[in-house]
């Protein structure tokens, strides 16, 4: 016992940190803020003791200071005073307790109502703080807008365009949900955004890759954030056959990739996005990454020629690596009615976790617009011309892809 060294834990026994001689500061803080009851008692007791020391007569000072309250509190305050301030006192105060209670510390769990410590003002302040965090400085106006929005949604009092595009919900939810993925996960770098015309119809033609059409979504949010326009994607009929996906696609502004819809949208002055490689591009194996597939039948070029809108080539680097496609299950895919069922290094192996895309670094480069309004009226029906323009667009995208790949330091950086 004698040679045992006592090593104090933590603060080397500095006073005031719970070393046994005095309650810790945290404990004192607790005792101080323990709600309504003990606080007045101790203050009264202190006041009484001070009065004791200064003047001597006990009955004079309290009576003069607080004539209404003092007679009630006084009997209880006396024993509390003894037990709190002088713990080493005699047994007599306990014996003189008016109700016969045993002496106990002023702070016990029993005295604290669970909500006693949170006044309404604090709750209000917390609500205001949370609102400010959520909606910014003008939170009241923002909250009002949000409530108005919610009410419009509940009562159906909003408008969609003829393709089913719901601008409000796209802006508030879809874009807000995709933005962090674009900025934080893929760290998208956009170049040549000035090639997107500020108004009027235009056709954005992009390479397609990544097993799932994430590149389309990222292009939509990038164009919305940087050019301030909505990209109206043209989707395969499979998109509109699948439940949930079909309604989300229509709401976010997509429509079917057919010449009627493409021309109608372009005539209406929309910014239309097409991925002419289709499933051939998005479902190609990883070994063929960044090799552009055939550009369909050039239907997008005929649509642009008929409506005279510029074609903006877009090259996307980074989407190939998000789900490296290393295998396919054709029989199961045929059973499910989808063009391919991917196997990636993570996908069936890790289950749903395998659906998390790899965080590759993305580069989006919009090329110089290719004008189509200088061709003759019948140009859209000239197959040779259509093929020529298609090849021109395809070559532009392919060359830009090679340049961007040379510039990129690594897949993830």
């Amino acid at each position: 016992m004698g040679d045992a060294e006592i090593i104090p834990i933590g603060t080397r026994g500095r006073p005031g940190r719970g070393t046994g001689t005095a309650p810790s500061s945290a404990a004192r803080g607790l005792a101080g803020g323990a709600g309504g009851e003990p606080r007045p008692v101790r203050r009264k007791a202190d006041a009484a003791r001070r009065a004791d020391a200064a003047t001597g007569p006990v009955d004079e000072a309290p009576g003069a200071a607080d004539p209404a309250l003092e007679p009630v509190v006084q009997p209880a305050a006396e024993p509390a005073d003894e037990s709190l301030v002088e713990p080493s006192g005699t047994e007599t105060p306990a014996a003189t307790l008016p109700e016969g209670e045993s002496p106990r510390p002023a702070v016990t769990a029993r005295e604290r109502h669970p909500h006693a410590g949170i006044p309404a003002a604090d709750l209000l302040a917390a609500f205001q703080h949370a609102s400010r965090e959520l909606f910014g400085e003008q939170w009241e106006a923002q909250l009002a807008h949000f409530l108005a929005f919610l009410r419009r949604r509940v009562t159906g009092d909003y408008a969609v365009d003829e393709y089913g595009f719901d601008q409000e919900v796209t802006q508030r939810f879809f874009m807000a949900a995709l933005r962090p993925i674009a900025e934080k996960w893929f760290r998208i770098e956009v170049r040549g955004i000035e090639n997107i015309p500020a108004e009027g119809g235009a056709l954005v033609v992009s390479n397609h890759s990544g097993t799932l059409p994430i590149d389309g979504l990222m292009t939509m949010v990038s164009i919305h954030d940087r050019a301030g326009r909505f990209l109206r994607p043209l989707g395969a009929d499979l998109v509109f056959r699948m439940p949930v996906v079909s309604s989300l696609a229509r709401k976010s502004g997509a429509t079917l990739a057919c010449s009627e819809d493409a021309e109608r949208m372009l005539r209406g002055g929309e910014l239309v996005g097409v991925w002419p490689e289709g499933f051939k591009g998005i479902g190609k194996p990883y070994s063929q990454r960044y090799k552009l597939q055939r550009f369909g039948r050039g239907g997008f070029v005929s649509a642009a020629l008929r409506t005279g809108v510029p074609i903006v080539p877009l090259s996307v680097v980074g989407a190939e690596e998000i789900y490296p496609l290393i295998g396919n299950i054709p029989s199961l895919a045929r059973l499910l009615g989808v063009p391919y069922l991917p196997i990636t290094p993570l996908f069936p192996l890790l289950g749903p976790l395998g659906l998390v895309p790899l965080p590759s670094k993305w580069l989006l480069e919009f090329g110089e617009p290719i004008r189509t309004d200088e061709f003759d009226a019948g140009a859209a029906d000239d197959p040779m011309l259509v093929f020529d323009v298609t090849d021109q667009v395809r070559e532009t995208i392919q060359q830009t892809l090679y340049t961007l790949l040379m510039e990129r330091e690594s897949v993830f950086r």
Binding site: H145, R151, V160, A227, F240, V244, S246, L256, C258, D261
Partner: protein, 353 residues
């Protein structure tokens, strides 16, 4: 020139009311309503002739009354209204054939107006957003009402070829809706719980009943031959429509809803036809440019207004959430310049220029 107009299918509500409306038109001297069963309700100035259009006797009516304009409205969309699918098909297809044959023989007939429907375009995932009059359905209809209508349109086109002197107007009307209309679509919306297809949200277009009458009257009185889509402006999503009605919905997977609908059909509780189910899954939109420019007709009600007029007479739901939000909206009144609302977008676009 005052006209003598023959209207078929007057025993049903829309036909009866159209005939009554047309009789009030000063350029129309006489309106003759034809059907198998007499109409119930106010028939106004219309003279009723009890005749079956599936029967050659209709030719005698046309010849005797010296009819110059025929309005064909006797195309039935529900088997329950005709007493079974077979009888419905016979009434639709054979009736139209007989009527057209009678018209072809009658020298007096100079105009034919057929009320067709946008159902002929079908509804599928491969549909373009807006059908124009020149487009074909992506999947030819194989059965039911849509097939009947497609066949009827074929016969009408054949008639137009054989009698080029007759002005044939075919009006492909969107789903007719209104406070008094009873159709598969309106009874669907009137059901206490609205079943929807899980994961799909259809685009719908409506035509108000009053607009249907004025479009048909317009086709009778003006010289406008051709095929026209007739629909109110704008699009209403199914989810939006149901929210405006404040009806509870039950989203069911497509297959389950198909099975439910056939059960309901066989028990006679509700008539959710496969065409209506397709419509409620994929939706349909028709382009009405030709209606404005060629037909020269502008509907009084937009799609949303027509639906609001239909919904006005329906008992509203509890609207609890709406009331809560309205109360909250009073606490936080919306300040005027909307910083994040839809109006912010053009501003955003112009900022960068």
């Amino acid at each position: 020139m005052s006209r003598v107009v023959l209207v078929t299918g007057v025993s049903r509500d829309l036909g009866r009311r159209f005939a009554r409306t047309l009789a009030l038109d000063p350029t129309v001297s006489r309106v003759i309503g034809v059907d198998v069963t007499p109409p119930r309700g106010d028939f106004g100035d219309v003279s009723f002739v009890r005749a079956d259009i599936r029967n050659p006797v209709i030719a005698k009516v046309i010849a005797k009354e010296d009819v110059d304009t025929v309005v064909h409205m006797s195309v039935i969309s529900t088997p329950s209204g005709a007493g079974g699918r077979n009888s419905m098909k016979e009434l639709n297809v054979i009736g139209t054939m007989q009527l057209l044959a009678a018209c072809q023989r009658a020298e007096s007939v100079s105009r034919l107006v057929v009320k067709s429907t946008t159902t002929v375009y079908g509804a599928s995932n491969r549909d373009p957003a807006m059908f124009t009059e020149d487009m074909e359905p992506r999947r030819p209809p194989r059965a039911g009402y849509a097939k009947d209508v497609a066949e009827i349109e074929g016969y009408v086109r054949g008639f137009a070829r054989r009698r080029p002197d007759v002005g044939v107007t075919m009006l492909r009307c969107a789903n007719v809706i209104g406070p008094h209309v009873s159709s598969p679509m309106t009874s669907y919306f009137r059901s206490p719980v609205v079943p929807t297809v899980l994961g799909y949200d259809a685009r719908l277009q409506f035509l108000h009943e009053r607009d249907l009458f004025s479009a048909l009257s317009h086709a009778v009185t003006e010289d406008v031959a051709g095929t026209y889509n007739v629909a109110g402006d704008g699009i209403l999503m199914l989810s939006q429509a149901v929210r405006r009605l404040q009806r509870p919905t039950v989203p069911l997977p497509g297959l389950a809803l198909g099975r439910l609908s056939s059960t309901l059909r066989s028990t006679g509780i509700a008539d959710l036809s496969p065409e209506l189910l397709g419509m409620l899954t994929y939706g349909r939109g028709v382009d009405t440019t030709r209606m404005r420019e060629g037909l020269g007709f502008t509907p009084e009600f937009s799609t949303a207004e027509a639906f609001a007029d239909f919904a006005a007479l329906m008992p509203s739901g509890p609207r609890r959430s709406e009331r809560v939000l309205a109360g909250l909206g009073r606490v936080f009144p919306v300040p005027d310049p909307d910083p994040v609302g839809p109006r912010a977008v053009p501003a955003l676009g112009s900022d960068r220029g």
